[in-house]
Symmetry: C2
């Protein structure tokens, strides 16, 4: 298997719909569709290039609106075959865009505040969107085993999607992961392999396996299928705009792990503008990190173009990537759109989780707490304009990070089963 592309790659039999090839984000070199992720010329990351539909935007809008209630309504804009909706897949997406009126009141937002709630996905995180694309690429390239390195959430998303789609799965995790996360990942019946080492060791081992005959026929969703996988995050942009009535939000707050999601949401918004599906007007993108893993936020504040790696130490484990691959692109986008990157402490993350639960009945995980915490901080600082429309992206589910809130969340009172005890507790 190749890890670096050559222009001689042939992909005559590959049908990934509007995807016309791969292009290098750094030097622009083009490659045929294939399980490759780095440019031969400059080692830059590859991304999917498209022949997007031309013609009347109104017709495309109607075609989308009459599609299925999941990400496949956007199949004409994704690297998937046209008949994707008929294939076995978890069919994630079209999650609720919740009008967060109670939260808006509490934060003093007057221009409209929405939470894009991706906890409604099949395995309850946005990962289902990206894995769904990887599954279709794996089918196209003839892979029979799906794999990934993970610290938990992705492992479950891959295990579940592989089970539905009929792939063997073999997922690699650090051997000392919490038991709850191991169970969530292992229950789907694929191979779940603990690696004696930390997440970096797991990653290094996966790269080694891709280059070895033992990895023949294996699609690593976040390595050799990464260009396709990453495109799944575009659907967040499409859905937000469609659910707002085919309108761009003024401001959007997005968590940063590798930074891929933020860059792909921007890509999605740009595509909608180019296709005439939304009016072309300014929007601002804000990135959110935890203070304990804030390399992009630090670079943004220091005015740097490069991101200095950090050793993560935060409860927001699903965002704890100390050397985020897409960091520089995130900086570009947040600066270009007039946005910002900010970080919050673990205590602010917990407070934000509780704030969202108390105001909107949405229980998010630590990544969502980070995003809302940053939104709150930027609103209070006057960086996010409360008079404009704002969307906060919630990427996950609080049931997966119960430990974060457990120490400060419990019963208000314990009483005996009678009215006197009830009155004594001051509950009447």
């Amino acid at each position: 298997m190749q890890t670096v592309a050559t222009t001689s790659d042939s992909a005559d039999t590959v049908d990934l719909g509007p995807a016309s090839g791969l292009s290098c984000r750094e030097c622009g070199e083009r490659f045929a569709l294939g399980p490759i992720f780095a440019c031969e010329a400059c080692f830059g990351p590859l991304e999917v290039a498209y022949d997007l539909p031309s013609g009347d935007p109104e017709e495309l809008r109607k075609r989308i609106e009459s599609g299925p209630d999941n990400i496949w309504r956007y199949a004409p804009l994704l690297p998937v075959p046209a008949d994707v909706a008929g294939k076995p897949n978890l069919n994630p997406g079209f999650t609720q865009l919740v009008p967060a009126d109670n939260l808006a009141r509490e934060l003093g937002v007057t221009g409209g505040l929405w939470v894009k709630d991706d906890s409604g996905n099949p395995t309850h995180s946005f990962k289902d969107r990206v894995v769904a694309q990887a599954i279709e690429a794996a089918r196209a390239f003839g892979f029979t085993t799906l794999s990934c390195s993970s610290t938990g959430n992705l492992a479950g998303a891959v295990g579940a999607a592989a089970a539905r789609a009929g792939f063997r799965s073999c997922v690699f995790i650090p051997h000392d992961l919490e038991q709850g996360k191991v169970v969530m990942a292992a229950v789907y019946g694929g191979e779940l392999v603990g690696i004696e080492g930390n997440y970096d060791d797991v990653n290094r081992f996966c790269s080694e396996l891709i280059g070895d005959p033992a990895g023949e026929g294996w699609g690593f969703v976040n390595v050799n299928l990464r260009p396709y996988y990453a495109e799944g995050s575009k659907t967040l942009a499409y859905e937000i705009c469609e659910q707002l009535g085919w309108r761009l939000p003024d401001q959007i707050v997005i968590p940063i792990a590798s930074g891929s999601q933020l860059t792909k949401i921007d890509k999605g918004l740009q595509e909608l503008i180019k296709l005439g599906l939304v009016e072309d007007r300014p929007y601002r993108i804000f990135g959110a990190q935890a203070e304990g893993c804030s390399p992009v936020s630090a670079a943004f504040k220091a005015g740097h173009d490069v991101v200095r790696p950090q050793k993560p130490d935060t409860i927001a484990k699903s965002l704890a990537i100390g050397n985020p691959a897409d960091g520089p692109y995130v900086l570009d986008i947040c600066r270009r759109t007039g946005g910002a990157v900010e970080d919050v402490t673990d205590a602010e993350i917990v407070d934000a989780i509780k704030l969202l639960a108390r105001t909107e009945g949405i229980f998010t995980e630590t990544a969502g707490g980070t995003t809302l915490g940053v939104a709150k901080k930027l609103i209070e600082a006057g960086v996010i304009d409360p008079a404009l429309t704002t969307v906060v992206v919630n990427t996950g589910d609080g049931l997966k990070t119960l430990d974060a809130v457990a120490p400060t969340t419990g019963m208000s009172a314990v009483i005996r089963p009678n009215l006197d005890s009830f009155r004594e507790a001051g509950l009447a």
Copy 2:
């Protein structure tokens, strides 16, 4: 507050859409809409009566299909005001009806097998459907506090829904509930009160509170709002038929706790037939219990009309109601439709949870394991016909009952981060 209805109740100002009143399931006596749940004449349970829409079924079908992607598309058939979709609510429903082709192959089902996957609801169980109805009834009756007795799942559903809808909530649970469930219920910021006693003590206390001035203005979703609350389960029937292309399934397997859900799914199917939205043809309803709490199954097998209470002892805690209120109605329905009630052991429940995860990538809780376990048992026994269409209802999410599968779910191997170790483990 009244707990027993009188025919003099006036509800001139109550707008609950097509709901025209309450009627006693035992003696048929009619009452005005109000926060009442037991018949004055015979103490039988009250249920909502309707003036259902008349006219062209095709028009009603189109009206439903153009509605929101949640339960409110069925507002014309529910006890809610016509403008319900614009009110703050968790907006549950229209969850996936998953074509379970892998599972069908494994079970030898050839006529089509679907899983109605209610883990996709906002708090990841079907409880969001019923609580959503109770919220609208609470608004109509001017309640300001929402309450319930719960062993966990309902507490979270009420806490979340109350937060979104702007109600105070005060939920009662046994004081010794597992910490995880306490966190899931408490995070929404309402009052969560532990009662020194078991679930029966909690229930008794709630009944006492309803009759006391301290309970003035309190809507107990599963007590004085129960007639409205219970109607939410009808939406499962509506969605299944619409998602099958406005067609009745031949066979449907449903878990039994109080039995309410099963009776309301039957009510929903009957309404669709009466309205001409589906063709009137036979369907069979099957009820699922855990062996450790199988009073309805025991009565069914013994040919009894009454249900003898049991002391529950099963891992399927969300089904562990030893004296199910709707047990006799469940027996009626399963017998009338040519169905059956069956039960499975805790080990079979765990096996079924893993079977569903492995074949379809759906991680269900113990209640779902019970339902699928019973479906499997009845297929193997030739009671469920594998050549007919079958729907299995999954009411909840495996993340809430991790303990059930944890002892038998883990890593396949632990290796060192190198290819030799990988090969030694036999993974290549």
